[in-house]
């Protein structure tokens, strides 16, 4: 990129299953105000506003147009991009492009979802081609269920490992005041929760949340002038995957796939040899427990088929050597259009040392985040505390 780009502020809503007290405009505005307050800025100091969500999940076409009073975009340049579940991270990339282009110094990035206002299951089943595979009505649950059966058959993991991921997420979420599912649960609780789609039980799956996240990006000069603790965007990479080949559920596949391809590109760009050592914390997009274990492998935090051992050995706990999702992750909070941005924002909070009770108990200089959406798409974002890291 032609200019360095920093995160100079951000904010999020208190995520919840019910937000009847606010409409979509008001809910988004909560995150926008929090971000402006965090950056000690006013909306007048924002050069452009970028918005992303899951198109039509709330039953409204062109939401960016309705939301102008909440986003602060009235009278400003701006746009809306959608890339499915990855969109929150895509908006951060778009923000970084805007700053790096030299045309804008400050960019407000917003991701949101008010899931209760639409039928998410039906719309997610609509991800399938209209004439091919849509009638199974499996939505995301069915897809990750097949990943689970494939994972267990291939590597010898059991439902207990899935339960361990479920517990880690919700116990971490209890330390995050913004998280949706703050559950004091045990492995037994997870194993006894209601079966949704074998082997996915209620506690193995993300919730449907309402919430928003907003972040402010700036160029190096503005960041250094205006912000005590800017967090720098060091690498971004997007990999989509073809329409009909959902390779992620066949966990033994050796084909080049989105997750591994994108990680390899980011690692090459930054000169990373041992990602588990190079990065101090990870915030990954895991809509279901099984996806977290596959992410460990695809990010090369362990070898193929060893993801379930990392959770068994408690290495990815908040105080472990490779903390993954100290925020509680997507398993605890999934306002889809915001979820991928929350990963980046939570990673930035860890680098700033501002994560509060879920701050990992070690120095955090570098963080890696992932996104997930579409037919296996991702956006990886690497952050650092200084431009020398």
């Amino acid at each position: 990129m032609k200019r360095n780009v920093a995160i100079i502020g951000g904010g999020q809503t208190y995520h919840a299953a019910r937000r009847h007290d606010v409409n979509q405009v008001e809910m988004v505005n909560e995150a926008v105000r929090a971000a402006l307050e965090d950056a000690r800025m006013t909306i007048d100091e924002i050069d452009t506003v970028l918005v992303g969500n899951m198109e039509f999940f709330e039953g409204t076409h062109m939401t960016d147009c309705w939301l102008v009073d909440g986003t602060g975009a009235y009278g400003k340049p701006g746009l809306k991009i959608t890339t499915g579940g990855t969109v929150g991270a895509t908006i951060v990339c778009a923000g970084a492009h805007h700053v790096a282009s030299g045309l804008f110094d400050t960019v407000l990035c917003i991701g949101f979802e008010k899931q209760e206002e639409g039928d998410t299951g039906a719309i997610l089943s609509g991800v399938a081609h209209p004439l091919y595979g849509r009638s199974m009505a499996g939505a995301a649950v069915g897809y990750f269920a097949m990943m689970g059966t494939s994972y267990m058959a291939a590597w010898g993991a059991t439902e207990i490992h899935s339960a361990m991921v479920a517990v880690k997420a919700r116990q971490n979420a209890r330390k995050n005041k913004y998280a949706h599912l703050k559950l004091d649960i045990t492995v037994e609780d997870a194993l006894n929760s209601r079966m949704l789609a074998y082997p996915i039980r209620m506690l193995d799956m993300c919730p449907a949340s309402n919430g928003a996240c907003a972040m402010i990006l700036a160029d190096e000069k503005t960041a250094k002038d205006r912000c005590k603790n800017p967090v720098w965007i060091r690498a971004m990479d997007t990999a989509h995957n073809e329409q009909f080949e959902l390779d992620w559920r066949d966990v033994t596949t050796t084909k080049p796939i989105f997750s591994r391809t994108s990680a390899a590109r980011v690692y090459k760009q930054l000169g990373v040899n041992k990602p588990a050592d190079y990065f101090d914390v990870f915030e990954i997009y895991e809509p279901a427990t099984w996806a977290e274990m596959v992410w460990y492998e695809d990010l090369e935090l362990c070898g193929p088929g060893e993801g379930f051992k990392l959770i068994e050995e408690k290495r990815t706990e908040i105080d472990g050597p490779i903390p993954v999702n100290p925020s509680g992750g997507v398993l605890s909070t999934n306002c889809i259009g915001a979820s991928a941005m929350l990963r980046v924002w939570e990673a930035a909070l860890q680098i700033r040392g501002d994560a509060g009770e879920h701050q990992v108990p070690k120095e955090v200089r570098r963080a890696l985040t992932t996104a997930y959406g579409g037919t296996n798409w991702t956006v990886l974002t690497a952050l650092s505390r200084s431009l020398d890291d």
Binding site: E55, K76, K80, H98, H129
Partner: protein, 382 residues
């Protein structure tokens, strides 16, 4: 801009009321293959970014860029979907190249209006609490805007009908247009009223089609073609959502977007500096209103502008020599088609609807009802 961005390739389908022979992926591939073929570029060697433009609700597919991932080269690579008008896809593609992150971007817009109902789709763009239940769609909202504009600026039915006459006649020379013909003002005014004051012929018809552009950095562009079309300026802006919060006889968002684009391009006297305009007249009155927003004349003067022949294809400043949206361009594709037509004019490749030796062209597109979001792109030969 320290570094520049150019349009180096343009491809358009022939627009048609219904393309039952292809799904949207195959329709998109027609223009992608043509744009790559014309420029001699390949996805793996040359293209490092892709931006598509459409909407899930039009496509009937959740995350509808899934459907074009294969054909646009999105597999294991970058692709982003602009859920707005196609003009904003060009705006964002240019920003991506200026950022230094990308060198060569494939931009695609596609929509098959024939596969669903325009009124239902557009009704869902109104907020669900306050205005949607009134049953408004873009046509009924535009009728309110037309009535307000005509009243406030003393624009007549005949002046608006002249836009239809001009654009449908221009379209006769445009090989990709499907709605065209020689009509008189009287024939336009005799068309059935849809939402007063709008008549059938005032409304852009339902259309299927796709447009692709290839955009590149200055260095890359010069290696691809001897006649790159340069992006000289760009601007966007949002107006208020609620119609009651706007004076519909004005278009502040367009004035702001144009001011940003002109400042970047060094345009100080738009009527003199600009040689050709392609703008998004989804409804005929919008051509006049947008010309005021683009600063081609003072507010309220656009009626006299069309009376004078200033915007005719052989006038001082031809507007929509392609026939514009009235000649049949799909929603969402609209703005990318504006940019494509402006680029063809600057290259001298506009065939029968070529205007004389243009150096500076402006393309305008908009999203949302009554032009809530506006985008202006200034293009030049040098």
């Amino acid at each position: 801009m320290s570094e520049r961005v150019a349009i180096v390739g343009v491809a358009q389908t022939k627009f048609s009321p219904k393309r039952a022979d292809v799904n949207y992926s195959e329709m998109a591939y027609e223009v992608i293959a043509q744009a790559l073929g014309d420029t001699g570029l390949t996805i793996e060697r040359d293209i490092d970014n892709a931006i598509s433009c459409s909407h899930d609700i039009w496509d009937g597919q959740t995350i509808s860029d899934i459907g074009i991932t294969d054909v646009i080269g999105g597999h294991l690579r970058n692709e982003e979907k602009m859920a707005m008008d196609g003009s904003t896809a060009v705006y964002y593609a240019a920003i991506g190249i200026l950022s230094g992150e990308f060198d060569c971007t494939l931009v695609l817009a596609h929509t098959k209006m024939s596969q669903t109902s325009r009124n239902i789709v557009n009704n869902t763009a109104f907020d669900p609490i306050y205005t949607r239940l009134l049953g408004l769609d873009f046509t009924s909202a535009a009728a309110l805007q037309a009535a307000r504009y005509m009243h406030a600026r003393h624009i007549t039915d005949r002046q608006i009908a002249k836009v239809v006459v001009k654009n449908l006649a221009n379209a006769l020379h445009n090989p990709v247009a499907h709605n065209k013909g020689r009509y008189t003002i009287e024939e336009v005014l005799a068309a059935p009223v849809v939402a007063a004051p709008l008549r059938e012929m005032d409304i852009a018809p339902d259309t299927d089609g796709a447009v692709a552009l290839i955009m590149a950095s200055e260095e890359k562009a010069k290696r691809i073609t001897p006649s790159p079309v340069w992006v000289l300026g760009l601007g966007t802006s949002y107006d208020a959502h609620y119609l009651g919060d706007r004076d519909l006889s004005e278009c502040r968002a367009l004035e702001q977007a144009a001011a940003r684009a002109y400042r970047m391009a060094g345009i100080t006297d738009p009527a003199r500096d600009i040689d050709v305009i392609e703008l998004g007249e989804e409804f005929s009155y919008q051509e006049l209103l947008w010309l005021e927003g683009l600063g081609i004349c003072p507010r309220g003067e656009a009626g006299r502008l069309i009376d004078s022949g200033f915007t005719a294809i052989d006038g001082d400043l031809p507007v929509n020599p392609s026939g514009g949206l009235l000649s049949g361009v799909p929603a969402n594709v609209a703005g990318l088609n504006r940019v494509a037509e402006a680029a063809l004019q600057l290259r001298g490749d506009a065939e029968g609807h070529q205007v004389h030796n243009p150096r500076i062209a402006v393309a305008q597109g908009h999203s949302g009802f009554c032009g809530q979001h506006q985008c202006v792109i200034v293009l030049g030969r040098e």
